[in-house]
Symmetry: C2
Subunit: 221 residues, 2 copies
């Protein structure tokens, strides 16, 4: 089984949740973590030089912009570098992204070994993923395996913007007005309401406040 794991997620709560889940539920004793891609790359190289390389990397797809500019900006950039240094490294991506096509593209182009959608069952699925990845079996979240059914809910960029605006205190009416100025294909208050409602159902949120709080916890906002 894996011996030395590196976890990279810019959101502390998520990061820490993963580390604790691994420590409490697996035999993996060496779990390192960081919030920055560059720091991850440094740790990765150092581990290799010390003769104790990582054998599994769990990382997020996107990292928030920062005052502190990072040369490595996305999880994908980092994967390229890691694979370059250590081609056989196992990689699990843990992200809020759940658009099937986008995920499939990532799996195809970067040969990652697992993809897990953050959410209510993310950590449980991570535990399921680890033995699969160990045995060279690609693991993807259950929600994603229904790749033929077409009625799977997917969060899009507009959803993210809506959540961000909500968290900044913008009213639904104001959000609609902003979208009108941007000539977004979604314009009306009614559509914004519908979008928010779908998000609430997806994240099992009782109301909009709860929804934004969940978004914060997941690191979407």
């Amino acid at each position: 089984m894996f011996k030395n794991v590196l976890v990279i997620d810019d959101h502390a709560a998520v990061n820490h949740g993963i580390v604790q889940t691994l420590k409490n539920n697996t035999n993996i004793h060496q779990v390192a973590f960081t919030q920055y891609c560059e720091d991850a790359y440094i740790k990765f190289q150092k581990a290799q030089q010390d003769g104790n390389p990582f054998d599994l990397v769990i990382l997020d797809l996107t990292f928030k912009e920062d005052h502190h500019k990072q040369r490595i900006k996305t999880g994908l950039d980092l994967i390229k570098l890691l694979r370059n240094k250590q081609p056989d490294i196992k990689i699990i991506m843990y992200s809020v992204e759940d658009r099937k096509t986008k995920i499939q593209t990532i799996i195809d182009n970067y040969s990652i070994n697992g993809f897990i959608s953050k959410g209510r069952h993310g950590l449980k699925e991570l535990l399921e993923a680890i033995p699969n990845v160990w045995n060279n079996t690609l693991y993807t979240s259950k929600a994603l395996n229904l790749s033929n059914q077409n009625n799977v809910f997917e969060i899009d960029d507009i959803d993210i913007v809506i959540l961000q605006e909500l968290s900044k205190g913008t009213s639904q009416k104001e959000i609609a007005e902003k979208f009108q100025l941007k000539n977004s294909k979604i314009n009306s208050l009614s559509s914004i309401e519908k979008k928010i409602n779908k998000l609430k159902i997806h994240f099992k949120a009782k109301n909009t406040i709860h929804l934004v709080a969940i978004g914060k916890d997941l690191g979407i906002i």
Copy 2:
């Protein structure tokens, strides 16, 4: 001026904000940070042993409970340990706490060198605090200096509970009902509304969603 600073806050956004503020606005080049008190203590001892001790520590008062049990549970516990190892270490506390009596007690009993209330101007005040603390002058947030005026708003435990309930999706009516069951001195929907309104004014939140989002960012919730 200070050369080697350690920042300890369990909330990543806050932690990182402090570090970046220091790096961008002061000549302090060595800025270490951690989210855990125990880790802070280890780093602190190591720095001492290496002949490169920290000369300033910036830390939070409270740290969230964790699956991972920490022996050092509060900032005050940590201060005791640090002062024990290095009596002249300068300490600035950076917390959401803004109850004057509580803060005064901390200043008296732990001889800290600065106390800054998290909030809109927290980071700006931190920059003001540093030269003061360097010159052995106690620094406290402007908001706290008005210690004679009695109409300063203070967040109490009930406010925290309200924010937590809101973030879990509890409606204001339900919150009032919960408080009735607990025989809280505050009972009515009207009072809950008033409390929330005061919080919104204090944190300059446009609406309740914004308020909860700010609370998440500050690490209150």
